[in-house]
Symmetry: C2
Subunit: 202 residues, 2 copies
C-alpha cells in the first residue's frame, strides 16, 4: 500500500522552500529573514529547515543566490532586435525587478558592500553576468556601432554604467521625483551610448 499523497523529493522540497525564501526576501532585509520566519510561513519545523539549509548564513546565501539567478533570468534579451532594443527590454525588466524586490535588493547591496564576502561574490558575479551579455557574439557587430567593442576601456565604462544604472533605479524606486517609468527607461537606454560616444570619436 502506498500513500496517495504526492511525496516531494528532498530536492524539490528544498527548491520550494528556497522560492518561498526569495518571496519573503523581496520585502524585508536579510537581517529580518530568519529561519524562524520561513518555518512559520512554510508551516514546517525549524529543525527541518536546518536540515535543508544548515545554518542561517547558508540559508541567506542560498536565497540571495537564487534571487540573483532570478534577476539574470528575467532580464534575458528576448527575441530578435538590435543591441539597443535588447538593452531597452532588459532595462525595463530590471527596473520592474528592483521595484518589486526593493528591500531585498538594498539588503544585498549593503551586505556586499559592507564586507560580507559570500554576498559580495554573488553580487559581483551577478553584475558581471548581466553586463557580459552586452559583449556576446551574435550582436557584437551592431554593438560596435554604438561604441560597445570588447576592449578594457569599454569594459571599465560598462562597469561604471552598471553602477550608474543601479544608483538611478534604486533612487527612482525610493522616490520617483515625478519621473515616469517611461521617461526613466528612455534615459537609461540612452545613457550607455552616451557614455561610450567619446570612445567612438577619440
Amino acid at each position: 500500500m502506498t500513500s496517495t499523497r504526492v511525496r516531494m523529493s528532498p530536492d524539490s522540497r528544498r527548491e520550494q522552500l528556497l522560492a518561498l525564501g526569495v518571496r519573503l526576501f523581496a520585502t524585508r532585509s536579510l537581517q529580518d529573514l530568519s529561519i524562524e520566519t520561513l518555518a512559520e510561513e512554510a508551516g514546517i519545523s525549524r529543525g527541518l529547515l536546518y536540515h535543508y539549509f544548515g545554518n542561517k548564513q547558508e540559508f541567506h546565501t542560498a536565497v540571495v543566490q537564487r534571487a540573483a539567478d532570478d534577476l539574470f533570468a528575467v532580464t534575458a534579451p528576448a527575441g530578435d532586435g538590435s543591441p539597443l532594443e535588447h538593452l531597452a527590454g532588459s532595462l525595463e525588466r530590471y527596473v520592474d525587478y528592483v521595484a518589486e524586490n526593493y528591500h531585498g535588493y538594498i539588503s544585498l547591496l549593503r551586505g556586499a558592500a559592507g564586507g560580507h564576502e559570500g554576498l559580495r561574490e554573488i553580487y559581483e558575479s551577478s553584475r558581471a553576468a548581466l553586463t557580459e551579455r552586452l559583449f556576446e557574439a551574435p550582436v557584437a557587430q551592431e554593438a560596435a556601432a554604438i561604441g560597445l567593442t570588447d576592449t578594457p576601456a569599454v569594459r571599465l565604462l560598462v562597469r561604471g554604467w552598471a553602477a550608474f544604472t543601479e544608483e538611478v533605479v534604486l533612487e527612482w524606486v525610493r522616490d520617483s521625483r515625478g519621473i515616469t517609468r517611461d521617461e526613466l527607461l528612455v534615459t537609461l537606454a540612452a545613457s550607455l551610448p552616451g557614455i561610450l560616444a567619446p570612445m567612438l570619436e577619440g
Copy 2:
C-alpha cells in the same frame, strides 16, 4: 617667567592629531586605524588621545569627516572657465585624491554602504556637496547648454553619474588596464554631457 617652548592650544593640538590620522587613513582601512597606532605615530599617550577624541568611533568619525572636507577642498573649481573646464579640473583632482587615499576611501565606502550610520551620513553629505557645485549659479547658464539644468530628473542622473565616476575611478586605481590617466580624464569629463544629452533632445 614663561616657557620659551611654544605651547599649542588644545584645538591646535587636536587639529594636528587629526591631520596625522588622515595621513594614516590614506593607506589603511578604518579597522586598522586604531588610537594605539595614532599614539605610536604621534609619540604621545593613548590617554591623551582619548582625551581629544573620546573613543575609537568618535576618532574614526572625526578622521573621515576631515578626509571628506579635504576632498571637497582639493576638488574646488579653480579660476575662470566654462562648466566643462571646471568639471575637467575637479575630476583631475578627484582622480589623484582617490589614487593617493585609496585604502581609506574604499574603507569609507564599505563602512557607509555596510550600515555604519555615521559614515553613511558623511559619505552622503560629501557626495551631495561635490555634485551640488554643478548647479551653482555663476555657471548655471552655460551649464544649461550641456543639459545641466536644475530639475529633479537631471539631479537623479547627476547622482547616477557620481556613482559611475566613483566606480570607474576606483576600478582604474585598482587596475589601470593600460588606460592612461589622460584617457581616463577625457572619458570621465565627456560622460556627464553624454548621460544628459537625451534630456536636451527629449
